[in-house]
């Protein structure tokens, strides 16, 4: 198993290199020049501009620029935010925990919804329960997060006035009160993301269980007198999870997309809203760094998926 994990980690290196190459190419192809403003400013003599360009290495060959950029990205030296006047890595580290908290809780919520409902649907296909569950799952994954978010705000904040619709990082209360406020403000963003995830996962889970349940080893498990519960939990669900984990890993980039939108709707101070605000403020170093962080998160979650995969299906890790 540890050999398998090491191999999966090593596979990451070319992937990360490839992604960074794509990002750098986009940046290098982009028109515009950080010193464009200086060019139009008559008070800045051309020699000063040329010196600045040389100092920041803008005239070096592209391969050298890429290498330098990649090394500094890896070292966590992500530059300086033009707008906030702080180092980009401080800015991101401040906001990353909030994003991960919302994303993680949403994923847990999605799994809690999807595993039992998907499994139960597949155990009694075309029953009333299955039909209701399938319909809701279909509606759920057709509902874009930006619309669910707005409807939630409309219903729970404006009409019923139960929940706050602005997420605040600086709740003034302490002790239990703090947890209570934190819970109240997190419910809607987590629910919006989690329900969407739950709907998608329910569909995956249902079809995976349907595939597994016909297999011989399930019959064997039943025939040797295992209880229905043991059969389902240990033999059906565990094996059905293998394709689900793969599909979930493929969904990860999409999940981050939904998270950015959710953060923006509820003004959650995470890296998603940081990305949007930096784009609106033309803060290129932050935009690049956040995109890089998202890429790294995608790659990392693929690693987690691969490791889970090896755990769920031990045959894979011995290959």
């Amino acid at each position: 198993m540890s050999k398998y994990v090491i191999r999966q980690v090593l596979i990451l290196i070319p992937v990360l290199l490839g992604i960074s190459l794509v990002l750098f190419t986009i940046l290098a192809m982009a028109p515009g020049d950080p010193f464009e403003e200086l060019a139009t400013n008559p008070n800045v003599p051309p020699e000063v501009r040329a010196n600045l360009r040389a100092k920041f290495g803008l005239d070096d060959p592209i391969a050298v620029r890429y290498l330098r950029w990649f090394v500094s990205m890896m070292k966590g030296d992500w530059g300086f935010s033009f707008v906030s006047r702080v180092d980009v890595d401080t800015l991101i580290l401040q906001r990353l925990p909030t994003s991960l908290f919302i994303l993680g809780s949403a994923l847990v919520l999605g799994v809690i919804i999807a595993l039992p409902i998907g499994t139960m649907s597949a155990l009694r296909p075309y029953s009333l329960f299955d039909q209701i569950a399938t319909t809701f799952a279909f509606i759920g994954f057709s509902l874009p997060t930006f619309f669910t978010g707005l409807v939630f705000i409309l219903v729970f904040s404006i009409w019923l006035d139960w929940l706050p619709f602005i997420y605040r990082a600086d709740i003034s209360a302490t002790g239990w009160r703090w947890y209570w406020e934190q819970l109240r403000q997190s419910i809607m963003p987590i629910a919006v993301l989690g329900l969407f995830q739950g709907a998608t996962l329910t569909r995956f889970m249902r079809s995976a269980v349907l595939d597994v349940i016909r297999l011989d080893y399930v019959n064997t498990a039943r025939a040797k007198g295992l209880s229905e519960k043991t059969t389902v939990v240990k033999h059906v669900v565990r094996n059905a999870l293998i394709p689900v984990v793969t599909l979930l890993a493929l969904q990860v980039p999409g999940i981050f997309g939904g998270a950015i939108i959710t953060e923006q709707i509820f003004r959650v101070p995470g890296i998603g809203s940081l990305l949007i605000n930096s784009i609106l403020a033309n803060d290129t170093p932050v935009v690049m760094a956040v995109t890089f962080v998202y890429s790294a998160l995608v790659v990392l979650s693929n690693l987690v998926a691969d490791i889970l995969y090896g755990w769920l299906d031990p045959r894979i890790s011995y290959r």
Binding site: V15, L154, T291
Partner: protein, 307 residues
């Protein structure tokens, strides 16, 4: 293939296969509901502005943020502009973005998948690594990054409307071809070894003809399903961009853009946000149901076995 069992004389392989698929699709109740709903919306946005002749940018501050009424069936926005007129116009944009992005994605995907599947060897290896790489790119952040870096210069070259439109469809299409490429490659790998392709090869058909006449038509089933779903995904991607304020400018009110403008007025003008949101939802739902129906209809196992 379904036609193998039929007597050769009156075998019209393609028509009967497609007719069978159509029959199965029509029997899928929800897919038909989706089709009717989508067709209604398509007719509404294409023909609607010709019938409902209210301009999309007639500003009337006396009638701002009004709830739906006879004068304004979907109410008005904060400038007193008619929401229904903007919805009809925006629907054209949203649907056009969805369809054109899908065409770009499918073309790229089929091309890359076909090359990888047909050539095999190192070309296949390289193309599939590139596909994997694209699959692990973060979609929306990258979309935002590209729009951010390129929109100003494209706007300068092609004008605000066309520039943004081309940028958005190109980027959405360019980031969504991977699933199709994988599907097509897998189809090619299995079809290449089938008897009817071998027969064509044996009869001296050139590789291009083998691919074009024999392999590709038989690989299209899953591609059509993926294409349908892609339209929905592209509409959501465009709406997300516009909803974040980074898609179309306010004078091109795509559905996502209307939502973006409406979201800060939820408390006193909920209708303004609910109509475009519901339109996006219904479109995506209809398309997804149609995709489901097509999947059942085009599944070769089902066509062969009957129900």
């Amino acid at each position: 293939m379904a036609t193998v069992a039929l007597p050769l004389r009156d075998a019209q392989p393609r028509t009967s296969l497609w007719r069978e698929a159509t029959r199965r699709f029509v029997k899928h109740r929800l897919a038909m509901v989706g089709l009717v709903l989508l067709a209604t919306m398509a007719v509404a946005v294409v023909a609607g502005p010709l019938v409902y002749r209210v301009p999309i940018d007639a500003i009337d501050f006396k009638a701002k943020l009004k709830a739906p009424s006879w004068a304004h069936p979907m109410g008005t926005d904060d400038l007193g502009q008619d929401v229904l007129a903007r919805m009809l116009y925006g629907g054209r944009i949203s649907l056009a973005v969805g369809i054109i992005s899908m065409l770009i994605a499918i073309t790229l995907g089929v091309l890359i998948g076909a090359i990888a599947g047909q050539l095999g060897g190192s070309a296949d290896h390289v193309l599939m690594r590139i596909t994997d790489l694209f699959l692990s790119l973060p979609g929306l952040p990258l979309l935002l990054l590209i729009v951010y870096l390129f929109r100003d210069s494209l706007r300068k070259f092609l004008g605000p409307e066309l520039g943004v439109f081309i940028l958005i469809v190109a980027v959405i299409g360019g980031l969504r071809w991977m699933t199709v490429a994988r599907l097509v490659r897998a189809q090619f790998l299995s079809l290449r070894e089938k008897e009817f392709v071998e027969a064509a090869r044996g009869l001296g058909a050139r590789p291009v003809r083998q691919v074009w006449r024999h392999i590709l038509p038989n690989a299209m089933g899953p591609v059509i399903v993926a294409a349908t779903i892609d339209v929905a995904a592209a509409i959501i991607a465009e709406s997300s961009l516009s909803f974040l304020g980074l898609g179309f400018p306010p004078d091109i009110p795509s559905w996502g853009r209307i939502l973006f403008d409406a979201k800060d007025n939820l408390d006193f003008a909920p209708h303004w946000a609910l109509f475009p949101g519901a339109a996006i939802f219904l479109t995506v739902l209809s398309i997804n149901y149609m995709g489901d129906g097509l999947r059942d209809a085009l599944d070769p196992r089902k066509v062969l076995g009957g129900k």
